[in-house]
């Protein structure tokens, strides 16, 4: 049977049209866009077209606001480090506890170097408290960085409102929109967002290509200095094939953007309803009213995520887990912990992330496959007995060492 891919928040397949557009840039169109001769000129033209396609998808006012980078992580690092460099008298960073490591690890590192770091907490649904946010905005803050959509739960932050609030206080605002771009309509020119990161491989472009949107007149300091590529804001010969691929992917995303909130959302909702109807002691994580249309984060109590993934994989179904067991640490993910999801559920959280390439048959196959897998693992679990959890599981299992 054909494998089912429901891990699109981790990465996506390149659209065949993307691959086709890229191929000439490995062969006859190999030129360096900076060269005067015709080899270079053709590449330069292709990059310009791609830039406009990215601009259009983001609703940016100018194509010169688009800076190509090597990945989402580079865009995130560039944004934060630029803001700190540009206003050396401001040493405070505001972010949230549920950011991707591309932001969190960097910010925690900067904290060691003397920056003040405020990580906004979230509630059970993964929402931030805007009053608390407002109370932190002052003239020592160099930058606010808040993700548009969370990669694990799909929960959205009100970044447009948060950007407007920061703007009122003269504070730079960056959003990691790696999970949002291509899944939600975005119109940057009508917002106060100063910088935005995106990553190609989350929207059917190749891995290793990213964009940092930098609003015109935003004070900017490059991460990589060298040649004049990207108007001196990101030195290094352009990754022309990937940039062209990203352009095509952005074009496709724009054409299909309606589909995300209709077709894909219906599939996701069907998947969630179907699974929850058949599996007891399971629930959806995150803000179910305000989240990405493609993401389902489902907690299965009293079982551990890796086992579920291995059994799903055997059925040809690819998903991912909210437990960080894969990192060698036994703690559940920082996002689940930040939302206060009980340990009994956090370890058994599975993320299904769909794309417009998924079908209803696939969804129905997953709905059929999941319940027996959970039942099988619960049969092995010391916290489960018969068809329900043992009463008072935290006490029933009493290890003599802690």
């Amino acid at each position: 049977m054909k494998p089912i891919y429901m891990d699109n928040n981790a990465t996506t397949a390149c659209d065949p049209a993307v691959v086709e557009a890229m191929l000439p840039f490995f062969t006859e169109q190999f030129g360096n866009a900076s060269s005067i001769h015709s080899f270079g000129a053709q590449v330069g033209k292709a990059l310009k077209e791609a830039r406009v396609k990215v601009q259009t998808l983001l609703g940016a006012a100018h194509d010169s606001e688009i800076v190509f980078t090597s990945c989402g992580t580079e865009s995130d690092s560039t944004a934060i480090l630029s803001a700190l460099k540009a206003s050396p008298e401001r040493r405070t960073i505001i972010t949230t506890v549920v950011e991707h490591p591309a932001i969190l690890t960097l910010c925690e590192h900067l904290e060691k170097d003397g920056c003040v770091l405020h990580k906004l907490p979230v509630n059970k649904k993964g929402r931030v408290d805007l009053d608390e946010y407002k109370s932190l905005l002052n003239d020592r803050v160099a930058i606010v960085s808040a993700m548009w959509a969370n990669n694990e739960t799909g929960t959205l932050f009100p970044v447009e409102e948060m950007a407007a609030l920061a703007h009122e206080k003269g504070i730079m605002f960056h959003t990691d929109a790696v999970q949002a771009v291509g899944k939600l309509p975005i119109d940057l020119k009508t917002t106060k967002i100063d910088m935005l990161s995106l990553s190609g491989h989350k929207l059917h472009a190749p891995k290793g290509i990213g964009v940092l949107y930098v609003r015109r007149n935003t004070r900017f300091r490059p991460l990589l200095r060298g040649g004049h590529q990207e108007r001196g804001r990101r030195a290094g010969t352009e990754n022309s094939a990937s940039i062209v691929g990203l352009g095509v992917a952005c074009d496709l995303a724009r054409k299909h953007i309606e589909e995300e909130s209709t077709v894909v959302k219906r599939l996701r909702d069907r998947l969630e309803r179907g699974i929850l109807a058949k599996v007891p002691n399971a629930f959806v994580n995150g803000d179910t009213l305000y989240r990405l249309p493609n993401t389902a984060s489902i907690a299965f109590e009293y079982v551990e995520g890796e086992g579920i993934l291995l059994l799903l994989n055997r059925e040809g179904i690819a998903a991912s887990s909210g437990s960080a067991c894969t990192s060698g640490s036994l703690e559940p993910s920082h996002v689940m912990r930040a939302m206060g999801i009980p340990y009994t559920a956090a370890h058994g959280t599975i993320r299904f992330s769909l794309s417009r390439y998924n079908t209803q048959e696939e969804v129905d196959r997953v709905i059929a496959a999941v319940p027996p897998i959970i039942a099988q693992l619960r049969k092995l679990s010391p916290y489960w007995s018969g068809n329900k959890p043992v009463s008072n599981p935290e006490q029933a299992f009493q290890p003599e060492y802690t």
């Binding site: 995520g305 894969t326 010391p382 299992f397 290890p399």
Partner: protein
């Protein structure tokens, strides 16, 4: 996805001896749901012969935790309790054709459950304060708690010291930043590689205040421990290593490994081997710990 051996996969997909065991007379619970790993081992022991007639498990945990539990039950069935206690975590891993370094704790958990179940069968108390931190050195599977305790216990100052004592950082070197962070957290600053560690090992064993089995006096017990270590030493010395008794605190026996054993990737295995020999010699469950673990007490 993990690089699991066929054997691990097979035991995960078709676990042996899973589920509750009726009439179990030795039950060991280790781990907790908080840690994401919990194992209950249930034994049915023939009281006259001490033979483990049946063993079942229930496990909450990742694929290799389930596979390790399954393997453990297969290994110990038909063995006597005393024979079963000789099963080390490395035996469990070997039975499964190896485990990834990040997952070795699954086999350790299996071994601990076995000790807890045997203690339960014999009506003894078993406790283990073994604590596990984030994996820092992936080449030699050394975690943050182990590194921190060894730094504290031995007054380590430099990256080189840490590598000498724990082996951590001796491979690909990608973890050096993390190890330096731990050194700074403990010492308040980072010393360059020239600074030398200042090992402050106590060498005279202090008599234990804790009650022990009546058949041995404290003196006899310590003599027995020393004799047992003495018998092991030639084996270690062949590998250019050595072991010395540092402290006996009830069921905890602290030793200093030196030479090639100390800090070598086999340190944990060496300690486990020493522990088994001492369990056999003393006829009681004891824990053998590296001297570094003493700093906590």
């Amino acid at each position: 996805m993990w690089d699991y051996s066929e054997k691990v996969r097979e035991h995960f997909f078709n676990p042996r001896n899973s589920g509750p065991l009726e009439n179990a007379n030795g039950i060991g619970d280790v781990g907790s749901i908080k840690c994401g790993d919990a194992l209950r081992l249930m034994l049915k022991v023939q009281p006259e012969t001490g033979i483990i007639e049946d063993a079942h498990f229930q496990t909450f945990g990742c694929g290799s935790a389930i596979a390790s539990s399954s393997a453990l039950t297969e290994i110990i069935k038909g063995k006597t309790v005393d024979e079963a206690l000789l099963v080390s975590n490395q035996d469990i891993a070997d039975y499964l054709d190896g485990l990834p370094p990040e997952k070795m704790h699954c086999s350790v958990m299996g071994r601990e459950a076995l000790q807890a179940a045997v203690a339960n069968y014999r009506g003894e108390a078993w406790s283990d304060e073994h604590e596990e931190g984030d994996l820092v050195c992936k080449c030699f599977a050394i975690d943050a708690v182990m590194i921190e305790q060894t730094i504290r216990g031995n007054g380590l100052k430099t990256m080189q010291d840490v590598t000498n004592y724990t082996k951590a950082g001796g491979g690909c070197s990608a973890c050096h930043e993390k190890i330096e962070d731990i050194l700074i957290a403990v010492n308040g600053r980072l010393y360059s590689n020239e600074a030398k560690a200042n090992p402050s090992l106590k060498s005279t064993p202090a008599p234990s205040a804790s009650p022990v089995k009546p058949k041995l006096t404290n003196y006899q017990r310590i003599r027995k421990i020393e004799d047992t270590l003495e018998a092991i030493r030639p084996m270690l010395q062949r590998d250019h290593g050595d072991v010395a008794l540092v402290e006996v605190d009830g069921k905890k026996i602290y030793v200093a490994l030196s030479g090639a054993c100390q800090g070598c990737s086999m340190e944990a295995a060496t300690l486990a081997g020493v522990q088994q020999k001492l369990i056999e010699a003393l006829g009681e469950l004891v824990q053998v710990l590296p001297v570094g673990a003493m700093a906590n007490h």
